[in-house]
Symmetry: C2
Amino acid sequence: MNKAELFQQIKRKSSFLCVGLDADLSKIPSSLLKLEDPIFEFNKQIIDATADFAVAYKPNIAFYEALGPKGWESLQKTLEYIPSDVFTIADAKRGDIGNTSGLYAKAFFETMDFDSITVAPYMGIDSVQPFLEFKNKWVILLALTSNGGSSDFQLIESKSGKPLFHEVLEKSQVWGNTDNMMYVVGATRGELIAEVRKIVPDHFFLVPGVGAQGGSLKEVAKYGMNASCGLLVNSSRGIIYAGKGEDFAEKARQEAEKLQKEMADLLEEYCG
Amino acid sequence: MNKAELFQQIKRKSSFLCVGLDADLSKIPSSLLKLEDPIFEFNKQIIDATADFAVAYKPNIAFYEALGPKGWESLQKTLEYIPSDVFTIADAKRGDIGNTSGLYAKAFFETMDFDSITVAPYMGIDSVQPFLEFKNKWVILLALTSNGGSSDFQLIESKSGKPLFHEVLEKSQVWGNTDNMMYVVGATRGELIAEVRKIVPDHFFLVPGVGAQGGSLKEVAKYGMNASCGLLVNSSRGIIYAGKGEDFAEKARQEAEKLQKEMADLLEEYCG
């Protein structure tokens, strides 16, 4: 899926919502646990309930990896179940030397057929490029994350006065283009989103940290939106665990719809 | 395994060799391909052939992940086959927000029973700490890697005149201790290894980049060794693909023994 097609979908659904599929055996309704593949069954019902409002799904790979080979089977089935016009993100935070990144790319782009993968920048250009060599696939590079520890290194100022995340944005934007590279930009501080938008005006951002992690959707749109929307805002727990009982899918649908309605207004206001 | 036990093993085998288990279906002898689990069979023979000379084994997780659920089964079987007194490293370069890193830790320390995992530092303290909460398990944090792209960010100087990898070493060394934290330190430049050793005098280093990536074992020992050895030097392709035919295990054994003999001399010279 290229950038224009993604924007088409955003306009069609009046939404830039990404639903995080962080299915956890200890949190899904107990009635599912007796089924053969509870994780897939949970995801399937969440996808059915939210696909009208979501333009992207983002399985957090750790949740599947923690379950061993069976987890990978649930992940594969989930991925195949996602409607083909919805963007898929392997939230895997991978990155290694060239030949190894090439194998991670193979794992997520060939063995599985994700549209994109999140990648950590610490090892530099040759750890990122192997992912960019796959046609119609995307790298979503960590720039500014939303967790507490993000200030440990991402905000360190270099001699030239720029925090590390600026260096990451400036250097990496020429490795790919706006059709194969996005950035992870945390939603915790509006003025930082504005800073990022200045450096990479045309790239899409994947924004975690709205909801459970405390960011405001309005701030994100105000400071981060561009003429092609340029935002995928993720919500995981706030949607998939909105209900804890048999009605979890219905509750998830209500939460997703609520966010979609807010997003429709914001699209009109900032991307008219 | 704690640091003292690791050093015991190093003294007993007169070796600080780590063998990288980067088994690749396109490179292993074709005679293995007709077996039910060629990757495990290859690893098994490599382990049998090299266990006298290796103090650690390091499967590169990407090689297994690229094969889907079957790859994870081969990995699990390989891990179970490694003799229990040999240190095991999941070379996975993981790292994410706290609850997610906790799940990666579960994947590699509980679902599987690795002694250690390589972790990327970009997201800071809360992306590393969940791994450190497991008793008798280790984080091997990326500090200075051996690939070309390592200079993109790791060498950027901060306002205080320190390159980023210094900041990573200085900040992170208080997150854990010398019994649960090591560092990845590339072998490509001796004087940089000396710099790292000055900042973290007592930690173990995992050193890739000897052999195929061009580093010199003697330089690594000269600049990096401390009173408890403090080094695990990895060789992957140089050992496991030393032979391409039926005699691959015998050839691997010869290469491992050659390195072990060099290491025995270096241990005597610099860690007497």
